[in-house]
């Protein structure tokens, strides 16, 4: 009647409501083949939000806990992939956070199989985008930092990028745990890496870290500002934007201002701000322009900076008056002008 299933890598799927419970039941079987096939079918099913809802409501997520410690690495990888698919829906994110799955999941970070580690990092990354997720992952930050150190030594790019972005998301919420593990030094070493992905993630991480007082101080102490300024000339817009963000945050404290002025950063920033591009590039450069304007504002509070900027004032004024500008950019430019022309 139904011959061998068309795709032997997937288990046959029951009809309607029975599909998800039956597949989860098959996960309990001792043969690894069966489990792998059931997982493959589940991955296919979980793209449908209804199925995800059914799986979460039926409380099947707890069964996945057993699979984390399975001997077969492909089973573990597939489980992580399944979780990654499910984290694209908020209900499963909530369930994942409220269940006790995070701890065994975190133990998988030291898994020998690299694809499993990658999938796991994808899961953690998508979890960290959620504020509650970032909060839950804050406890894991020391482990993540340790892993990052290890991965940096081993030069595995994919995992490094994912780890950095997870740490960035966590640090946006609260940068202190990461700072306690010497994150600034670690991340700063990566600013001049060859790969643009790593540079982007490292600069984003640095920006998130320097949003905190402690981070700013550390950045000045570790003398990372030359590397950051170098990144302003980078080819990737995102990297430039992140570098400008770091400067913006660091310039708030006095030592930062001093260092930046020492590095003669104002002409570069002005150049970035006043470059004329077409409209769609403007959109992607919007962050860059905003951050540069804010950085200029912070530098204008120092007397030396103000003097330099007073000479360039017309440029900024023009920028602030332009009608087709984005509202945020215009406001930022106006603030900058106000600060530059402030007299006690």
């Amino acid at each position: 009647m139904a011959g061998p299933p068309a795709d032997w890598t997937r288990a046959p799927v029951a009809f309607g409501r029975r599909a998800v419970p039956q597949l989860f039941g098959e996960l309990m079987r001792p043969e690894a083949e069966v489990r792998l096939r059931a997982l493959a079918s589940l991955c296919g099913l979980m793209r449908d939000p209804e199925r995800v809802y059914q799986a979460v409501r039926g409380g099947f997520l707890e069964q996945l806990k057993v699979l984390f410690v399975d001997e077969d690495p492909s089973v573990r990888t597939k489980t992580c992939e399944l979780l990654h698919l499910m984290t694209s829906h908020s209900i499963s994110r909530q369930a994942l956070l409220s269940s006790s799955l995070l701890h065994p999941l975190a133990l998988l970070m030291d898994d020998p199989s690299s694809s499993c580690r990658r999938s796991l990092l994808l899961v953690l990354n998508s979890l960290a985008l959620l504020p509650e997720g970032a909060e839950a992952l804050l406890t894991l930050v020391p482990k993540l930092m340790q892993k990052l150190r290890q991965v940096m030594e081993e030069e595995v790019e994919v995992e490094e990028v994912l780890l950095l972005s997870t740490i960035t998301s966590c640090s946006r919420l609260d940068a202190l745990p990461a700072l306690a593990c010497d994150a600034v030094l670690l991340v700063g070493g990566r600013l001049s890496h060859l790969s643009p992905d790593i540079r982007r993630e490292a600069s984003a991480a640095l920006m998130a870290l320097s949003a905190c007082e402690e981070g700013r101080r550390r950045v000045c102490e570790e003398a990372l500002l030359p590397a950051v300024v170098e990144l302003l000339q980078d080819g990737d817009v995102a990297v430039q934007a992140n570098a400008a963000g770091v400067l913006m945050y660091t310039g708030v404290i006095t030592t930062g201002k001093q260092r930046c002025l020492d590095l003669n950063v104002i002409p570069m920033l002005l150049d970035l701000v006043t470059r004329d591009q077409e409209q769609q590039e403007e959109r992607s450069r919007k962050a860059l322009i905003m951050f540069s304007l804010r950085a200029l504002t912070t530098l204008a509070e120092a007397p030396l900076g103000r003097r330099l900027l007073l000479e360039q004032l017309p440029l900024l004024v023009r920028r602030s008056e332009a009608a087709e500008e984005d509202l945020d950019i215009r406001r930022a430019a106006q603030t900058a002008v106000r600060v530059i022309t402030w007299t006690p």
Binding site: A211, Y249, T254, K286, T298, E301, T335
Partner: protein, 329 residues
């Protein structure tokens, strides 16, 4: 007891029964089980009640619908025999008419109204009959039951069977439609996700922006308050210093004035206290005068003691004189 008969099923599942020829056992009675040692007591077949003996034509054959029960059959035979015996005995015991007297003879006579000729010769007619030769039995006609129900005929015309091209159209449409719908949904979901991500990114940028501004202003505020504090502290310091200086000046003036008349008074008081002294005079006064006084004191003491002594002597003498006088009186 060795098995002389065997019941088996051969490989095809058919029933097979085989048995070796064996002599019939002699049973002691009906229904009684055979005694243990049967192979020595084979009965004589001639005296076996189970064997049918005699003329078998008179034996009634079992009716077709006979009971297969041998008991029944035997019972019936018994009954038959008994009946015969009973009849015979009844025949014998029946009373008959007594014998005729001497010279008489019993003769049968007809006493009915209508006399009948009795003869031994029965009038018989011979009639022969001959059946026709048997014809072959004709074939029985086919039993055709009476027609009932409706007759309906059907014929499949040329194009009425399944035509793939027309049938497949709706199926294909549904399939393709569903697939496309699903993929559209997925694409829309992905787009929505991408849009959410861009929104998140934009929000993050704005947040960073505003955060930087807030921090800058915070920092500015902090700096300003610090500056204010510092200036105020400085001012306070300055005021304090000034006050101190003024106090110092006042104090200096006062002390100056105070001290101006101090020196002569000091000297005079010192002199009055005897701090300026002539050493010879001092020496004389400190050393010589006490010695002198001591010596004077000593000599006066001696004189005093001498006088006291003398007084005592005089007193004693006077006392004695008085006593002597009293005695001599």
């Amino acid at each position: 007891m060795t098995f002389v008969s065997r019941v088996q099923r051969d490989p095809n599942g058919n029933y097979i029964y085989s048995s070796r020829p064996r002599p019939v056992e002699n049973r002691s009675g009906y229904g009684k089980p055979p005694p243990e040692q049967t192979h020595s007591t084979y009965g004589n077949i001639m005296f076996d009640p189970r064997v049918v003996r005699g003329n078998t034509y008179a034996q009634r054959i079992l009716p077709i619908a006979a009971q297969s029960d041998p008991d029944e059959v035997q019972r019936q035979q018994e009954i038959r025999r008994r009946n015969i015996a009973r009849k015979r005995s009844r025949e014998q015991s029946r009373t008959r008419t007594p014998e005729a007297a001497q010279g008489r003879k019993h003769i049968d006579v007809q006493t009915e109204c209508y006399l009948e000729e009795l003869s031994d010769i029965t009038v018989a007619k011979d009639i022969a009959c001959q059946t026709d030769s048997f014809l072959d039995r004709p074939a029985s006609p086919l039993f055709i039951p009476a027609k009932s129900g409706k007759d309906v005929g059907t014929q499949i015309e040329e194009g009425e069977l399944f035509d793939f091209d027309t049938e497949v159209q709706p199926v294909l449409e549904v399939l393709v439609g569903k697939v496309i719908e699903q993929s559209l949904l997925e694409v829309m979901e992905e787009e929505e996700l991408a849009y959410l991500r861009t929104q998140q990114r934009v929000f993050e940028e704005r947040r960073n922006n505003e955060l930087a501004e807030v921090m800058r202003l915070q920092e500015q505020d902090r700096r300003r308050t610090e500056e204010k504090e510092r200036r105020m502290a400085q001012q306070k310091e300055a005021l304090k210093k000034e006050k101190e200086v003024a106090e110092k000046i006042a104090v200096r003036a006062y002390t100056q004035e105070y001290l101006s008349g101090l020196l002569p008074t000091v000297f005079t008081s010192l002199r009055s206290h005897g701090y300026f002294f002539d050493p010879v005079q001092n020496d004389i006064e400190t050393n010589f005068m006490p010695w002198l006084m001591d010596e004077v004191n000593n000599s006066l003491e001696r004189r005093n003691t001498a006088r006291t002594l003398l007084d005592n002597i005089i007193y004693d003498v006077v006392q004695k004189r008085q006593e002597m006088f009293k005695e001599t009186q």
